[in-house]
């Protein structure tokens, strides 16, 4: 288990996540893509912390902050989805085209 291998796995997760975030039509699936990208970030951060930074405590804190970002993103994201659905009964990104009019 080398850092390079680890980062490759993280890169794969980020790549798949990016694909998901760009391609999915529905909000919730789009958020899954974002989460998967953050998953890759988590893995890379722990890898750096463990194998390249000699266990500097700030590395662990970075992981926790990333998780906090995920939690915030999810909570606000879902709240927005609920609010949008309540008013427009839409759950697709494209249903919000009307905002442009």
């Amino acid at each position: 288990m080398t850092l390079t291998a680890l980062l490759l796995v993280a890169a794969a997760l980020i790549g798949i996540g990016l694909y998901g975030a760009l391609s999915q039509q529905s909000f919730v699936m789009l958020m899954m893509g974002l989460e998967l990208m953050l998953n890759g970030v988590l893995l890379a951060a722990v890898g750096f912390w463990s194998l390249a930074a000699g266990g500097a405590p700030a590395g662990q804190l970075l992981v926790i902050i990333t998780m906090a970002v995920m939690a915030v993103e999810m909570a606000v994201g879902f709240a927005l989805i609920a609010a949008v659905y309540r008013n427009r009964q839409a759950d697709m990104t494209e249903s919000l085209d009307t905002m442009k009019h």
């Binding site: 609920a82 659905y85 309540r86 009964q89």
Partner: protein, 422 residues
Amino acid sequence: MAMSLLGRFAARAPVPVFPAVGRDGEVRLDVLSLAPALRVVDSPRHASILLVSGDIRTADRDSLARVHDQLAHPRATLWWGTQPRADTGAALTVAAAESPETALRDLYRRLLTGGHTSETHWLADEPPNPWRGRGDHGQGGEGMMGGVPYGRMMPMPPTPDLRDGLALDVYTAQFGPFLPQLPPGLVLEITLQGDVIQSAAVVRPPFLPGRDASAPFDRVLHEATPVAAIERARAAHHLRCVARLLGILQLAPQAARCRRTALKIERGGSIDLAPLRKTLRRAGAFAAIPAGLGPIDAAWAAELGGPAARAADQARDRRETAPAYRNLDFRTLCQSGGDVRARFTQWLDEAEQALALARAAGDAAIEKGAPVETPWGHRAPPSVYRLTDMLPGLEWGEALLTIASFDAAAVCRMAPLGIENP
């Protein structure tokens, strides 16, 4: 070898019975459920034997077949005090007056050790709608929401929710007549959004309390009947209603204790209900019923009569003026509130009072044909107030509590046919 050993072991387990309760089948099932060798279960999937107790309405035959077919193999049916289905061949029957306990044990043993073959299905072995091979993947559906994937349709179009306006899918289905937590016979068509009821309609009403010439309340029509017998029957009836409600509060052993007490009371035992009441209070049974759930107003209460009315502060009781009760210092008990908790308390209060009256009555009797206060209020005519008006907006468990807080006669009067059905 190993299998037969397992089978012999299995045959010694308590018999898992799913009851399909028909007309007049409920009380005797309550008594039977106390037998230690049996276990009355809530879902046919958990049962090996379907016990049909009481006559099944013609309209319920399909439902019975459906429940029968839902039992897991090995399975068998026992008909208790009713005519078996015509097409079932050599059906096992037990007369209404006998206890089927031994028959059930014996049937279960033979079922597991190979002496009785597992019953086959009664309904046709085909999916509800033809679906195979249709749609993009042969799943029977088309597009996103079309077709009949795997034989059932996709959800109904959403309607705005009663509570928070979020328009999500609704689920409409008929519940009953054999759902253990509904009164026997009651079939409701319920529309759910999540676990909250959006609308409900009665498809078939529950069974009215039967007229049984040997039961005290009907005996009084033909002959003079001791007050003690009448009051004991009242206490037993109320305790069985309490037991039904306790089951929904997840208090099964306390419910069994209520049923056991009811049986002892009917057999003439002199019982103090205070310890039972204390147990229930400590279990939080009163507190667990939400305050103000299922309220009825004065007019509604007056129309229903009986304990439900007295729970809504309507002090009407025939016993106040009945000559037989004159020396017994009878006083009408009432609750304020008229909600589920009040009805629950009223049943317990009246059961206690009835036992005190039975003790005090000595050999006083009610003469033949005299009007007597039944334990369940008026039996007829249909009320203008609807059970189904109470249910929308309630969570599933709360709705069941509300229904269980009325006795079968009250539910019957609030559930007439043909009005809600468009």
